[in-house]
């Protein structure tokens, strides 16, 4: 199964779309991981003598209103944005898998109660839920992680639940039950592995949205607190110099846009490569 998944990933990367987006995302992840070593200047080093300088050879992406190097801040900001959205989506997927699988498999009153609450959260836009939650928990990265995780929980829970419900009536599940298997065996050995692929793809696409959500919360000053940089917070402070130093707001904006576009492209490539139904047709 592991080999099969790895093969699908290889197939995704070998397409044009998947290759380009994969390369960009890999670069981004490397940048985020090795931010302290890769950034040309410390992200919080101020130099009031070189405020709002346009991009040049010494400062490739220019400097901001405190004379800080924008490139260094963007590299460190990538670290914040990526780790926050990936952690949040990870928590969301795990919770969604557990809730969705239990609801879909057992049904009954528990299912009805949980799904009602989940549907309730789904009737609000994610941004509203996230804002509300951050307002309750208080600003800061932990608050943002929890807010994003809960904002996207509905989609993963629903997706898993539907998958499990339709898989539950498959003949191989009946066959396993007639072998005397218990609930845990059926759920973990047969249902979850079969339900996982679409959930993982949805998780990948949601990571793109989560990056935007994280930037939005950062823009409102609810995410990373100064001096820690995040793309959203950088854009927020850049609004004041929009006409004096447009690179301070435009470059982080471009980073958000490109990252989200490439995550979506990569997701598309993986969907195409993972298409289990197409594989059945070949066999």
């Amino acid at each position: 199964m592991i080999k099969h998944r790895a093969l699908a990933l290889l197939k995704a990367v070998s397409t044009f779309k998947g290759g380009i987006s994969g390369a960009f995302l890999l670069l981004l992840v490397i940048g985020a991981l090795f931010a302290p070593w890769l950034s040309p200047y410390p992200y919080d080093q101020q130099d009031l003598g070189i405020m709002n300088q346009a991009p040049s050879l010494t400062h490739l992406f220019g400097t901001d209103e405190f004379g800080r190097d924008v490139l260094s801040r963007m590299i460190t900001g990538a670290r914040t944005s990526l780790s926050v959205s990936v952690t949040a989506i990870g928590i969301s997927v795990l919770l969604g898998l557990v809730l969705g699988a239990t609801c879909g498999y057992f049904g009954g009153t528990f299912d009805r109660v949980v799904m009602t609450v989940i549907d309730l959260t789904w009737s609000f836009p994610e941004i509203l839920i996230a804002l509300m939650l951050v307002a309750i928990i208080g600003p800061g990265l932990e608050g943002v992680v929890i807010a994003i995780a809960i904002a996207y929980l509905a989609q993963f829970t629903r997706l898993t639940r539907t998958q499990i419900m339709s898989l539950k009536s498959e003949t191989y599940v009946e066959a396993t039950i007639s072998l005397g298997a218990g609930h845990a065996h059926v759920l973990f050995s047969h249902l979850l592995p079969n339900a996982l692929a679409p959930v993982l793809v949805a998780a990948m696409l949601a990571t793109g949205d989560a990056i935007i959500l994280e930037a939005t919360l950062g823009f409102f000053g609810l995410g990373a607190q100064p001096p820690t940089p995040s793309w959203g917070a950088m854009m927020s402070s850049g609004t004041a110099q929009l006409f004096i130093a447009p690179w301070v707001i435009l470059l982080p904006g471009l980073a958000v846009a490109l990252t989200v576009v490439f995550i979506n492209l990569f997701g598309d490539a993986v969907i195409a490569a993972l298409d289990v139904r197409a594989k059945f047709r070949e066999a």
């Binding site: 199964m1 003949t171 072998l179 005397g180 592995p193 059945f280």
Partner: protein, 317 residues
Amino acid sequence: MLLDLEMLRISFGAFAPVDQVTLSVDRGEILGIVGESGSGKSLTATAIMGLLPRIGGQVAAGTIRFDGTDLVGLPERQMRRLRGGRIALITQNPMTSLDSMMRIGPQIDQAARLHLGLSRSAARARSLELMADLRIPDPASVYDLFPHQLSGGMKQRIVIAMALAGDPELLIADEPTTALDVTVQAQIVQILVDLVRQRGLGLILITHDMGVVAQACDRVAVMYCGRVVELAEVDALFAQPRHPYTQALIRCIPRHDMARGTMSAIPGVVPSAAAQPPGCRFNPRCARVADRCRVEIPELRIGVSGNGVACHVAEAA
């Protein structure tokens, strides 16, 4: 008797798609259950496996005695120990009976690990042996394949191996050959017959193919609309079918020496559970229907020979 059903009634809410089913199987015996789609064959099998609640049904009356214990109302824990351990089900369609995300081998291992408490390596050795018994070429490499890499006949053998892995005493095969090519069908039926003869298993073979019945079964229960209409030794059934429905079924078997255009079919369709006719359920389609058949439901009367028929006309004759 290994398995004894007595006056079994299965209900889904107000409907009882299976009623008054009485039949039995002994060790080393093959009982065929034949009938059209919707006659309650598969439901009967589901009831024996104790899986009716899964699809929203229940046993409303009657007993299912397996080796002396009544399975009706048996706690789920004990039922689970029987399932796969002493009674195994070979599911209808081998194409969908295997988990496409799991390798073949571990799927066969399951029952042995669940019921015989074998370790992974012991279960593997046992599965390889089983696969060889079922004439699967090169078991060791097939063990590591995924289901989509196998042909239909091979998959059906794997499904049979899965069912046998827990060392059951009773095997229920629900239309094991329906989804297969004719040439492969005969092989699979032969494998099942050999299993019964060599291991002394009891086998319930559910099918709508009279050819398979003639090839394999010792005794046959013919079902129509949830009732057993005729129960007979296989030779007696083909030589002297007593119920008009059985006679019609046998007439429907195509033969190579038939004149063109003489193929027969039974007129009409099986009535739905919601629209059962009064009296004998076969009366609207029966060629020999009498007045009594339209009002009174005939009961299955089993004689000393173990054969019986549920038909007013046949009993009068």
